[in-house]
Symmetry: C2
Subunit: 154 residues, 2 copies
DNA sequence: TGTGTAAGGGTGCATATGCGCCTAATTTCA
DNA sequence: TGAAATTAGGCGCATATGCACCCTTACACA
C-alpha cells in the first residue's frame, strides 16, 4: 500500500472508476430489485411485503417507536415512513400508543400484528435460507457489512 | 475449510444467519435508498433521476432497445420499464424508432436526449467520485462485484 | 408571560416498483 | 393454411420513495 502510494502521483487516489458502466447507484438498485422480489415472493403468501415485515420486526424487537425514530431505524425518509405504516394501521397490525407529547405518533404492535409476525417468521427464514444457500452464507455476511458501511456514510 | 466440514455435522452449511437483524433484503434496500438519494441530489440539478440517467446512458452505449431488452439490461420488471420511459418520452429525450415487428417499441435517444446526457455526465461523475472517495474505490469495486452476483442469482 | 425557535408530522406531487390480467402481433406446426 | 402457442406490451391496482411546503405543539428565554 505504502509502496503503491510512493510509486506515482496517479496512484495517490487508487481505483476510483468514473466509467458509466460502473455506476454504484445502478448496481445497488438492480440488486435491491432482485432481492426484494425474492423475499416478497416468499412473504407474499400471507400478504406482507418485505418492507412491512421489516417494520413489524423492528417494532417487536425494539418496542414502540415514533415515526421519526422508525424512519431513522429503517434508514428511510420520514414522510415515506409515515405512509408505509398506513396499510399496517389499516389492517390492524399496529396502532398508535399513548402519547405524552401531542406532536408524536408512537406506533406499537397490536395482538393481531404479533400473530401476523409469528406467521411471517417461517416464511422470512425460508427466504433468508434460500438466499444464503444460493449466494453463500459468508458472502452474504460480507455483503451486509459492506452495505451497512454505505448506510453509515450518512 | 475441509477441516471445518469434517469437524461436526452442523458445520456442513456454514454461517447462514437466520437472525431477523441480519435480513439481507432490509440491508440492501436501506443502502439503495441512501445511494439513490446521494446520486439524485447531484443529478437533480438538471432535473434527472438516477434511474433516468441510467436508461439514457444504456441507450447511448448500447443503441436503440425494445422495452423488454431495456428491462433485461436494467434488471427491472417489463412493466416498470414501460412506465419509466414515459417521462423521458414526454420530455423529448427518447423516441420510438422504426419498427419491423409491430409488437415492439424500440426506444432511441433523440438529439435533445444526447444533449441532456452530456450535461448529466459531469454531474454523475461528481456523484461517483464523491461516493468512491468516501466509501473507498477498491471497496466500491468489490461491492459492485458482490451486487452483480446477487443480480445473476436470477 | 409572551414570542421566537425547534421538533414532529402531514399533504401534494412526481416518479418507482411489480403483480395479475388483458390485447395484439407473430411464430410454430399439424 | 389455419389453429395453438409464444412474444411484446399496456393497464389497473397497491405500495414505495422523497422533496417542498405547511400546520401544530413544545420549549427556551428575554
Amino acid at each position: 500500500m505504502k509502496a503503491m502510494r510512493t510509486k506515482t502521483k496517479q496512484n495517490q487516489i487508487p481505483a476510483i472508476s468514473l466509467d458509466p458502466a460502473d455506476c454504484n447507484c445502478l448496481a445497488i438498485r438492480q440488486a435491491a430489485r432482485q432481492v426484494t422480489q425474492f423475499y416478497d415472493r416468499h412473504l407474499g403468501v400471507i400478504g406482507l411485503r418485505t418492507s412491512q415485515y421489516s417494520i413489524l420486526s423492528k417494532l417487536l424487537r425494539l418496542g414502540p417507536q415514533s415515526i421519526n425514530a422508525l424512519a431513522m431505524l429503517m434508514a428511510m425518509d420520514r414522510t415515506t415512513t409515515g405512509r408505509a405504516i398506513r396499510p399496517l394501521e389499516r389492517d390492524g397490525l399496529i396502532e398508535v400508543a399513548a402519547r405524552d407529547d401531542a406532536r408524536t405518533r408512537v406506533m406499537q404492535l397490536t395482538a393481531a400484528g404479533r400473530v401476523r409476525l409469528k406467521e411471517a417468521q417461517p416464511l422470512w427464514r425460508e427466504a433468508q435460507r434460500d438466499f444464503e444457500t444460493r449466494y453463500g452464507g459468508g458472502e452474504a455476511a460480507s455483503l451486509r457489512e459492506a452495505l451497512s458501511r454505505v448506510v453509515s456514510l450518512h
